[in-house]
Assembly symmetry: C2
Homo-oligomer: 337 residues x 2
């Protein structure tokens, strides 16, 4: 069935892989801002609380997507708890209101692309004269399960890329997949050492990546973002693996600020550079990706204390774009399904 030569072994899951889960009438959302100090799940009961969780950035990228999808399930559960069945029009209206509220929660994530799927399914149910509660939750769950399966498949692909003796540099955080692949590789007796950049200004490398790699038993060494060129020159790493926030049709991709210079340096030192992508035809090339300029306060303060003094301005592009020429191989999420 598959070309890969790994035998079937269990994949141990990292909390960052699937950071939001429905349990009865409650959505449990991993509070990523408390990691690595605490593994705490926030209880979300309705749209308002979901919007709050997104707005306060308690969860990121894929976690936001999970919160959005599950919020519709929550609201349909809530609507169905009355004694009388809710009329289809009222339920569609409720779904649209939920979508609108979620779309407005943050400017950067393409929420509308996700919420419009659910609104579409609700309309489809009405057109086909099927009960919304009998149709939409099944579609949402099926959609999520499909993504889950394809992400687990990508974990296996990453594990195949990892070879015994590898010393892999990574940047920012790839939401569980790299740590899970590391665990899988070790089950196949491949010893891999990871170097994680701390990833200023948010320290995702120090707080998330180092934590989850260690949690799944991998060896990891933290380095300053400043030390990338130095460790490459000293031949301490032989592979780079990073994630991507947006992937383009031509292979360009956007990821956390710093990824671009790592790609340039890897190219300079002829170190293979791998990226996890979610292929998209919507964005043609990297030039079509608008770079989010974030609030420089994130650069000027830490733990609410000012690092600088007086009036110092900061410039904080949240991510940068890597041209496909610098990519050795894209480890793509299968999108046929």
């Amino acid at each position: 069935m598959s070309k890969r030569n790994t035998t079937t072994v269990d994949i141990k899951e990292s909390p960052l892989f699937w950071p939001a889960r429905l349990k009865g009438n409650t959505l449990l959302v991993l509070d990523e801002t408390l990691i690595p100090q605490k593994l705490h799940y926030i209880k979300v009961k309705n749209t308002k609380q979901a919007v709050e969780v997104i707005r306060q950035m308690k969860t990121r990228a894929f976690g936001q997507f999970l919160v959005v999808m599950n919020t519709f399930l929550l609201e349909m559960n809530n609507a169905g708890t009355g004694l009388k069945p809710v009329p289809a029009d009222a339920l569609l209206n409720k779904i649209q209101k939920t979508a609108n509220a979620l779309n407005k929660s943050r400017p950067t994530f393409p929420f509308a692309e996700v919420t419009s799927l659910v609104v579409g399914w609700a309309r489809q149910a009405i057109e086909q004269n099927i009960d919304i509660p009998a149709f939409v939750p099944t579609r949402i769950n099926g959609y999520l399960q499909g993504i889950r399966g394809r992400r687990l498949e990508r974990v296996r692909k990453i594990a195949d890329v990892l070879k015994d003796g590898d010393r892999v540099l990574t940047h920012c955080n790839v939401s569980g997949e790299l740590a899970m692949a590391a665990h899988l590789a070790r089950q196949h007796s491949k010893r891999v050492h990871f170097f994680a950049t701390e990833t200023r200004p948010y320290f995702q490398g120090s707080k998330l990546t180092a934590w989850e790699l260690r949690r799944l038993g991998a060896d990891v060494t933290l380095i300053a973002d400043n030390a990338v060129g130095s460790v490459m020159a000293d031949k301490l790493i032989n592979k780079v693996i990073v994630g991507s926030d947006r992937s383009c049709a031509n292979g360009d991709f956007a990821n956390k600020i710093g990824t671009y210079q790592i790609a340039v340096l890897a190219n300079e030192f002829q170190i293979p550079f791998y990226v996890l992508t979610q292929p998209s035809d919507k964005i043609k090339t990297g030039k079509d990706i608008p770079v989010e300029i974030r609030n420089p306060q994130e650069l000027l303060t830490y733990l609410k204390k000012k690092i600088v003094s007086g009036v110092v301005s900061g410039f904080y592009p949240g991510f940068d774009v890597v041209p496909h020429e610098l990519v050795t191989e894209a480890i793509a999420l299968d999108v046929r399904a």
Copy 2:
């Protein structure tokens, strides 16, 4: 007299340019660890206190050199406060003890190179039958004044390199000279905008460079170390100017970790790369510079709070070596004098 085409204007001094100064029987040492929150001078009265200041890293590079030189002046003052003149042998002995104590204060700085100068002057005085207190302080002060003059001359050279409209990237901190050159350039109606990297893990860029550039009236924008490639790709900078901790005979130099990757990126984008050097024949090439590996705790904690959790190892090379091929021009300290 000079080839430079700048007219004579006052150079405004930055506190980081000359961070230790004798005032009567007290050596005032700028506590750089309190910058940018406080401009505070520690009062040093004797060798023991000087060693403490160095050991606690209250001052860095050039500041350490100033503390060492001035400590001999302090001790000679202290010895001379009695009623009877101190015998030459006893004074030489005291100077040697002071040198030994200073040499042992920290492993990285070449203290012995500096203290042996003073011990040599004391021996010379004895050989030539001159009173040590009449000879050595004059030599120390003359030596310091010579360096001061050559550093001010280098400030003028940097100001000549700065052109109207420049957008200059700098890394770590160059102990006052860049900020003073910026001030001088503005007096010549040259508008220059600076980008300072924050320079993890110590934040010298955020704490020292941004502070002193602003203090001398320059425009400065702070960026994450991760954003260097991005701002270069976006053509936001047209010049790089950095300092050097050690310069080699062949033009290679060592500087704060991160300098090397900035040089590689500048080369990639054909952005002129300038370095302030102290030419030395003692070190032939960059390969002869041992790279100090610092305590990774500096990477794992901030403001005494852990950034990471659990057992995460860190690797923290304190500086890296830039090969001369990547240097466009060295702005050298004149060493003829």
